[in-house]
Structures are given as C-alpha cells and as structure tokens.
Amino acid sequence: MFRSLFLFDVTFWLYLAAMGLYFGYIIASRKALQPAVAGHPAGTTAEEGSWADTLGLLATWVTFFGLIVNGMALGTRAYERMQISGTFAPWSNQFEAMAYVSFAIIAGYLLLELKYGIKAIGAFVVSIGFIAMGAASLLPYRYQTAEPLVPALNSYWIYIHVSITLTSYAAFAMAGGLGVMYLLKERAERRGMAATSVYATFPSLEKIDELGYKAIMVGFPLLAFGTILGAMWANYAWGGYWSWDPKETWALIVWLIYGAYIHARMNRGWEGHRAAVYQIFGLLMVVFCFWGVNFLLSGLHAYA
C-alpha cells in the first residue's frame, strides 16, 4: 500500500553508503598525504587516480543519488496522501518530517560541496542526514504510514509553516555537524597531528567556523519565518497567534539561543572553540524542540 516506504528504505541504505564513503575518503586521503612535503597546503597533494579521489567522487554521487531517491520517496508519499485525504504535504507526521529534514540536510550539504568543494565535511553532515533518516525508520510502523490529517492540521498552512521550520532545523543540524568537525580538528592541531592524520583534508579551523556561522545565518531567518507562519496559522486555528504551547515556546527558545549566538559573535571571543561548542549545544536544543517536545511534553502540537 505504501510504495513510498520502500523508497524511504532505499534512501536509508544510500545515505549509509554515502556516509561510509565519506569516511573512507578522509581515511584514504591520509595515506595519499603522508609523503607530502611538510607545510604544503592540505588537500592539493592527493595523487591523481588515488583511492581518495575515487572514493570522494563516489561519495558525492552516492549522496546525490540518495537525495534523488529521498525526493522521490517524498513525492510518492505526497501522491499517497493525496489519495487518502486530499492533502499532499509530505511532512504531515513525525516520520515524514524527519525524512524531509534529512532531505534538506543532504541538499544543503551538496550545495555546500558544489560551492566550496570541501568533501571532508560530508563525513559529518551526511552522517547527521543519515541519523535523521535512520531515526525516522526506527519509528514504529504506525507512525510511518500516511494517516488522514486531523482537522486542526487540515489547512494550506501546513505546506509552508512546516516545511520552512523543518528547513531551518536542517541548517542548524549542519552547523552542529560543523561544530563537531571544528572540535576534532582543533584537538588534532593541539596534538600536532592535523597535517598527517585523517584531519589532513579538513578545511582550516577558520573556514569550518565561518561555514558553521553561515549555516546558522540560513537557519535563523528561516526559523523566524516558520514560527511567524505558525503564529498566523494559530490565529486561524487556535484562536490566537501565541498560546505558549510547548512547541511554539521551544521554537522561540531555539531562536533566542541562536539569536544570542549571533550577537555574541559580534565580539571576537565567541568565534572558534566556543562557537563550535555552542553550535553543538544549539543542535541538541533543536533536537529537543523537534523530538523531545513531541514525545515528552504535551500540548497543542502533539499530533505525531
């Protein structure tokens, strides 16, 4: 009955493969770099036709293919929803929302790779996309199927409010992955192994830091927009634009946390290490907002 479930399954395995390939890529790059001249810029000495290049190329293509299948899965789910209840938003329950978040994370990562060409980031960001997809597939079957929408959700607002909010989560997830990467690279530098070990293909600390900041600068306006759209929806459905429902309050909390981060960065002390730790903390808060609120706190958003 649910053809999309098969495609979601395929997506899961493709992302797993992509993650493995990206890790393979950074491990293989280490070997290629060992004979490199000390002080030579990282990432440019890999011999032509080396394992690393092959793995890197494969990783990118498998990720891209995974994205396509993920998109097809969401599209098929949209069609199935249309058959069942006449609405098509393929992010109408927890499972679909997470599958959409992983789609957004992977799409965001591929854009990043296209623009900056730093494959090592894939090991971290694609992993988060994979974890989102994996966690979705761990949900019980009854959460994975497309049930008709409850009356409160049956509105055109679901298309725009939910998708935009989820996209902001994806951006914050990328920032969190970059934060982890920063801390690892930093530790390697402290131990003096940044140039020779698997960290060789990692971009400079400054670059990781800046990319993390950029990811948050994408997520921050999106979350503001998504939350305000939610308020507009609430004004039609719940009898008021703000009810301090746990979900909307947590969206505000997350937004304030990143707002504080953006302001703190105006001062130099909040770049680098502290920012990386904060990005990871922020991601944990997003995960709570996305998951914890639905499963631990009761409220108007308890639809899943």
Partner: protein, 497 residues
C-alpha cells in the same frame, strides 16, 4: 586590555566598528569614571551604553530562553491538585511564590521583554545614525598604514600607469556590485569600494520590529479579550463585546472513510438589531469574523445539562416485570395510555451533585460520571412528585403513590459546540512587526557589508598598489573575492574579478 591593543587599528575606524568594540569602550568609560566627578551627561551616556550593550542583549535572550524552558517543563495554568500530585505540597508552594504556574504572565517575564525592547531601541539610537551617515559620507582618504592594518590586505608592485590601474581596480569592483569612490590626489590615488550596507540597516529594522511585536502583544492583552463559549444548536447567544447576537444553526462532524474525524463544523448566524447579518459555517481552520470579533471552532462535546432523548423503562413494582418503555424528548410530555402514565423529562445532570445550602441539584463536572434525569410523573391524572432517576443506580428511590418503578436505560446527550471568542486589536501590529522581523533578519543574514580601500602610489616599477578590506560578516566569501582580486591584480592584464 590586551584585546584593546590588538584591536587598536580597528578602533581607528571607529565609525564602523563601534558595534564590535562595545566592551572596549565600556572599559574606557569605567576608567574615567573614578578619576573625574560625574556629570549628568556622562551618566546618561553610560546608561545608554549599558542599555544598548551587546552583553545585555545576550543576557536577556538567554534569560528569556531559560524562563520559557521552565514554563514548558512545568505545566502552566493547571489546577493545584495536578501540581501537588506530581511535585508535592512544598514544591507547589514555591511554584506559586515564584509564579512558575503562570510564568509567561509574571512581572519578571514582562520586565525581561520590556528590557529587551529598551535594549534594541537604545542600540538603534546609538548605532544606527553612524550607519546611516556612512551611506552618504564614507571615509575615502586613508593612509597606506591603515590599509595594511585591515583584516585582509596586499601590496602589489605593477609596471603600469596610475590612471589605468586606478580605472581597472574601480571597474573590477564596480562589476562586482560595489559602489566605488575615487579620490585623485597629486601624487597618489585612493579608491574606496563598498557594498551591502543594506545588511546593516536590515539588522536595525529587525531590532525595531521586536518592540513593534511586543507593543502589539500588550495592546491585545489590554484591550482585547478571549472567551470560551459552550453553545447549543438552535440557541441564540448575546455577545456583549460587539452588541450583537449569535445564533448556532447547526453543529456536525465529518468523517473520513476510515472513521477518522475530517472536520468539525458549526453553522453560525450573526443577528444584529433583529436582522440576520451574516451566516457562515466555521471549521477548525476557518473562523467567522464579525466586527473584529473572531469565532473559532474550538471543541465540542456532550452537554452536561440537557439531553436530546432519554429512554425510560417502566416496571411493575410488585412483579418487577417490564410493562412499558418510553423514548422521551427533552421537555415534551409522553403519554403511555395503557399504563395511564404521562411522563415529562424536565431536567438532566451529567454528574449528579446536590448543593445542600441552596437545595439545588447541579452537575459537579462536565463528565458523564453520574447521569440523572428529572422525571415529572402523572399517573391516572394525578400528579406525583418529580424524582431524579439515576442511570448508574436504578431502583434507588421508591416513588410513593405509584404502581411503577422507572429506570433510565439510555440517553442521547445533546452535543455542544465549543466556540473560542476573541478580539485582538493588537494583531495587526504583531503582523507588521513580524514582517519587519523576517525581512530584517533575512536581509541582514544574506547581505554582508564589505569595504575595500586601495591606494595607488608611485613605486619602483611604476606604481605600488596597497589594497585591503574588511567584511562585517561572511568573511569566507569576502576572502575568496579578495584573493581572486589580488591574484588577478598581480597577474596584470586582466583586472576583472
């Protein structure tokens, strides 16, 4: 103080870096405070500086986040029993003291919100004028030393004429969307290129929007209202806030094929001065609006003080055999001819309670825990008492003077539609503020302010170019742009970036 020396070069450019150097400026103010007697103006400046500081902004946002978290962990606005059961008596006492059971309406929560407004407004007041001025009058003439101290800088010797080099640099930046100003001196030429000041302005628009939203919220709280009405089909209700009446024509539920609820619907008619003004079927996502008052489909349920129908079984007292059955309509007399009975269903309670003081029967809760009907019995033209008949406890009372026993074996509760009735005159301001917020935050996140200075002076080969620049945000993209520019400048012949 270390940071101060490191950043001395940047302080030189105070007009733009004012925002980033708040802490350093704070430190300076503090030093002078002790030395000199305090003037009123200095005090005012220090106060403004404090209220507009980044530190305060961060502190307020984090505090607001923490307080909001408390409000989501501890359930808000519940009955005392709920808290006592979960957290214990003493914890509940503290919750009440600290306002944790309605944290979003406590004085300290409101204070933080107001402080956040003051913070963003003073920030606007302190920093915006400089940004605004810089649109018109930017610092073009700078020294080579200044350029070399910028975050990114390069020095390039070129065998070319000053005029062509200047023109090429100007063109390169103009093509990238920069606004280029050239100051041609006798011996040297200074170029200034800038882009994306809009991003800085947008950030301040976002700051102002916070206050707009908060004012909208306060307005709604002060002159708006939010009520909940339990309304029955066929009844008319007066809405005093709008001085009109609301008639509930119909309430019904639509289902999907699999039995899940598709929508709750109420058809409502607005009646003003005896005239029907407006009829609309509202659903959960589609309220009725009349004279600024919104009617939302909020809930529904079984009425606790009336039924549509009730089924009463009549038994003979002596034989205990069923001798008759009647389906009674609400407040309509039913006649059982062969038993010589007339029955009238006069009242219903869902959860029987008795107020001994007022000698009044009422429903303790809205749940159908202990339903009972009041039955007026006329037997052989003789009016007997009207006893309460309990659904859960048949045969509780003996009805004197009657041959029969009456049992309530079933009833069809009247459905009510729960309407949320609200008026919020602040909502328009909230939407205006929200729009400004989204536009401001988006633009300031997307548009990065960048500035580049270049100085072309006579050099060994022909000219020496000092070029340097800073980005307010988005350093990584600026770095790429700057590197590409300097590489091509060095390669000569092709200045296009």
């Amino acid at each position: 103080m270390n940071r101060l020396t490191v950043r001395a070069a940047h302080l030189y450019d105070e007009m733009f870096f004012q925002f980033q150097t708040t802490y350093e400026m704070d430190a300076i103010t503090k030093d002078t405070e002790a030395a000199k007697p305090f003037t009123f103006k200095e005090f005012g400046d220090a106060l403004l500086e404090f209220f507009s500081s980044l530190k305060l902004a961060i502190f307020l946002m984090i505090t607001l986040a923490i307080l909001s978290t408390v409000g989501t962990v501890i359930q808000q606005g519940e009955r005392p029993e709920v808290y006592i059961k979960e957290y214990g008596e003493s914890a509940y006492w503290w919750f009440v003291k600290l306002g944790f059971i309605d944290i979003y309406h406590t004085w300290y929560f409101s204070t933080i919100l107001v402080l956040l407004c003051i913070n963003s407004l003073t920030c606007f007041n302190q920093r915006f004028p400089a940004i605004w001025r810089s649109i018109r009058q930017d610092k073009v003439n700078v020294t080579a030393q200044f350029i070399q101290n910028l975050k990114r800088s390069a020095t390039v010797d070129l065998a070319a004429e000053r005029g062509t080099v200047t023109e090429d640099i100007a063109l390169a930046f103009a093509e990238r969307g920069y606004r280029v100003l050239v100051n041609k001196g006798d011996a040297e030429t200074t170029l200034y290129a800038t882009k994306g000041i809009m991003g800085r302005i947008a950030a301040h628009v976002a700051h102002l929007s916070v206050t707009v939203i908060v004012i909208g919220g306060i307005l709604g709280n002060v002159i708006g209202f939010r009520d909940f009405g339990v309304c029955l089909e066929g009844e008319t209700y007066h809405i005093p806030q709008g001085n009109f009446d609301l008639h509930v024509d119909k309430f019904w539920i639509d289902y999907y094929d699999n039995g899940a609820v598709k929508s709750y619907n109420s058809t409502l008619t607005v009646i003003e001065n005896g005239e029907s003004k407006l009829t609309k079927t509202i659903t959960v996502n589609d309220p009725l609006v009349y004279k600024g008052i919104w009617f939302y489909q909020s809930s529904y349920g079984d009425s606790w003080d009336r039924v549509e129908k009730a089924r009463v079984v009549v038994r003979d007292k002596t034989t205990d055999k069923v001798v008759g059955e009647a389906i009674l309509d609400w407040k309509k007399e039913a006649v059982l001819k062969d038993l010589g009975l007339k029955l009238l269903l006069t009242d219903f309670v869902a959860d029987f309670g008795f107020d001994a003081k007022d000698r009044r029967v009422y429903s303790k809760t809205v749940e159908h825990e202990n339903p009972a009907i009041k039955l007026a019995i006329t037997e052989r033209e003789q009016t007997l008492t009207a006893p309460w008949i309990f659904y859960n406890y048949p045969d509780l009372f003996d009805i004197q003077g009657s041959k029969y026993k009456f049992e309530l074996t079933g009833y069809l509760a009247k459905k009510f539609t729960g309407l949320q009735i609200a008026k919020d005159p602040g909502v328009l301001l909230v939407w205006i503020g929200s729009t400004l917020l989204v536009v401001g935050v988006t633009l300031s996140a997307v548009i990065y302010h960048r500035r580049v200075w270049a100085k072309v002076v006579p050099g060994r080969q022909g000219v020496t170019v000092y070029v340097g620049g800073t980005a307010y945000k988005g350093q990584i993209d600026f770095d790429r742009e700057f590197d590409r520019f300097t590489e091509r400048l060095k390669a000569r012949g092709n200045y296009t970036v």
